[in-house]
């Protein structure tokens, strides 16, 4: 369990939040032109990194807004939180 600093509400307990998985997976611009392999890649394949990973989170029991998080999945340490639409930081 950890404390998450919601960019809209401030520090709150993790149980108010819902994890939304890997961040910056772009929805296909031309869905009709995608091959089955590309669909599989978009829908199912994940980096699932052990280490620093970019994720989406939702403050489900709070402001209900989505935001991005950079987190080390090997020890659950949160490195950075930034709003949707903002450019991801370069490592």
């Amino acid at each position: 369990m950890f404390i998450i600093n919601c960019p809209y509400c401030g520090e709150r307990d993790q149980q108010e939040f819902k994890a939304g998985g890997e961040a910056h997976i772009e929805r296909p611009k031309q869905p009709t032109e995608l091959s089955d392999d590309e669909w599989a890649e978009y829908l199912f394949m994940r980096k699932n990194i052990k280490g620093v990973q970019f994720e989406r989170w939702n403050h489900a029991h709070g402001c209900r807004k989505w935001f991005n998080m950079v987190r080390d999945t090997s020890n659950d340490e949160i490195k950075l939180i930034y709003k949707m639409g903002e450019k991801p930081p370069v490592e």
């Binding site: 599989a40 199912f44 394949m45 990194i49 990973q53 987190r71 090997s74 020890n75």
Partner: protein
């Protein structure tokens, strides 16, 4: 040839105060080259090596394990074994395993303490009742024993369950698979290790894989903390760390690794002689031979390799346990731990070849891999030896995420995922 474990060997060794027992497996140092290297020395990995040697006549096999064998999820699960899955493909896979379990102690000459004490799944609302009845029918069509019980029959089978209609999620019925049950998880790893070692498999502990060497579309070997090992075939059975190994080979898998928690209570006298699972409220409980209540909680929703989990997950599970079993209200919990489980989008495993020649993956068992250990090893050994899946694991290929032919057990099978 190893000495056979029997009552006579027990008496014989008693004379030397049990100080001269032969080692169950030797601590091997890696050779330069193997025909097959299995990455991961848990139950599934050791079983794979065992069946490769036993059924496919392969001689030059190694199992590399970054810690000690059976120290990962094999030693962290809640030891439940059952095969009452909804879909035909899953029923075939899990019942194949259950059939091997039934003779495993004899086959390995190692007591895995397999106990067919039955597994009961509870229904708490009308949709649960419909789902469980449907699953009972599906099971029976697949030759798997299953019966549907009404509330009174549930109470009769496990009298400590609170079947009062006044509780938040009343018990409306349940299913029972009598052939299901539990086994001693460590013994499974140790028994397979002993059996594999006897047939010449090298079990290399404290040997972490650091890289996979590829030559174009095929594998050439693995880079480990104990040096480079040359091999043409690599079987990865790394559970929560499957994606990490896949990354080394430049592959991506449809997996997310999440913490799954379990806990045990202080030991008490026998009080529950079966396994009771309830999906709707996410609580399941059994009692170990030591007398501890073994309780499984759920997964967290975020990716983590930390082997920790959130407190509210345990809290939610215990709330449900106490509502269903008021008798446990003053029990103290002794230990709590987490394991990292690799979850597929369809909650079914992957036992498959990959686009890279000589690289095989056995992963995605998610929250319920222990029950499949012998079957998984057997089928994965077949896949590696023949470079083709067995008909029982053909549906569990990696390509199903491209074709869309998923084996969707997530909501369908009333399984604790």
């Amino acid at each position: 040839m190893k000495n056979k474990y029997s009552v006579f060997s027990l008496i014989k060794n008693a004379f030397s105060y049990h100080e001269n027992w032969e080692k169950a497996w030797k601590d091997a140092t890696p050779k330069k080259e193997y025909d097959v290297v299995i990455v991961g020395g848990g139950g599934h990995g050791l079983a794979t090596a065992y069946y490769l040697a036993k059924k496919h006549n392969m001689k030059n096999i190694a199992v590399v394990e970054k810690g000690w064998i059976g120290g990962g999820n094999t030693g962290r699960n809640t030891t439940i074994i059952r095969s009452n899955y909804l879909w035909d493909a899953s029923a075939g896979l899990y019942d194949h395993a259950l059939k091997i379990w039934e003779g495993l102690s004899q086959e390995l000459n190692y007591n895995v303490m397999f106990s067919q004490r039955g597994v009961m799944n509870l229904a708490h609302n009308l949709q649960d009742v419909r789902d469980l009845k449907r699953r009972t029918h599906a099971n029976r069509l697949n030759g798997i024993d299953a019966v549907y019980l009404n509330t009174d029959e549930v109470k009769k089978f496990c009298p400590i369950i609170n079947t009062s209609p006044d509780i938040r999620y009343p018990v409306l019925g349940g299913t029972l698979q009598r052939r299901a049950g539990t086994a001693r998880h460590d013994a499974v790893a140790w028994g397979y290790a002993r059996g594999a070692d006897e047939m010449g498999v090298d079990i290399i502990q404290n040997c972490e894989v650091k890289g996979i060497k590829r030559n174009g579309d095929s594998v050439e070997g693995i880079e480990t903390t104990k040096g480079f090992i040359k091999t043409k075939k690599i079987g990865v059975v790394a559970a929560g760390h499957s994606s990490v190994i896949a990354n080394m080979a430049g592959l991506r898998l449809p997996l997310e690794s999440k913490p799954l928690q379990a806990l045990v209570s202080e030991p008490v006298k026998p009080i529950i002689d079966t396994v009771v699972m309830s999906n709707a409220v996410h609580a399941y409980v059994s009692q170990s031979d030591k007398g501890e209540l073994v309780i499984g909680a759920g997964t967290d929703d975020y990716v983590s390799y930390s082997q920790k989990g959130s407190h509210q997950i345990v809290e939610g599970t215990l709330n449900a346990i106490l509502e269903l079993y008021p008798i446990f209200s003053r029990m103290r919990m002794l230990r709590q731990w987490g394991g990292i489980v690799d979850i597929c989008p369809d909650a079914s495993p992957i036992l498959s070849k990959t686009a890279i020649k000589g690289l095989y993956f056995n992963c995605g068992w998610g929250t319920g891999g222990f029950k499949a250990t012998p079957g998984s090893g057997d089928l994965f050994a077949h896949t590696i030896a023949n470079d083709e899946p067995h008909k029982l694991n053909a549906a569990f290929n990696l390509n199903r995420f491209v074709s869309g032919d998923l084996v969707d057990e997530h909501g369908a099978a009333a399984v604790a995922h």
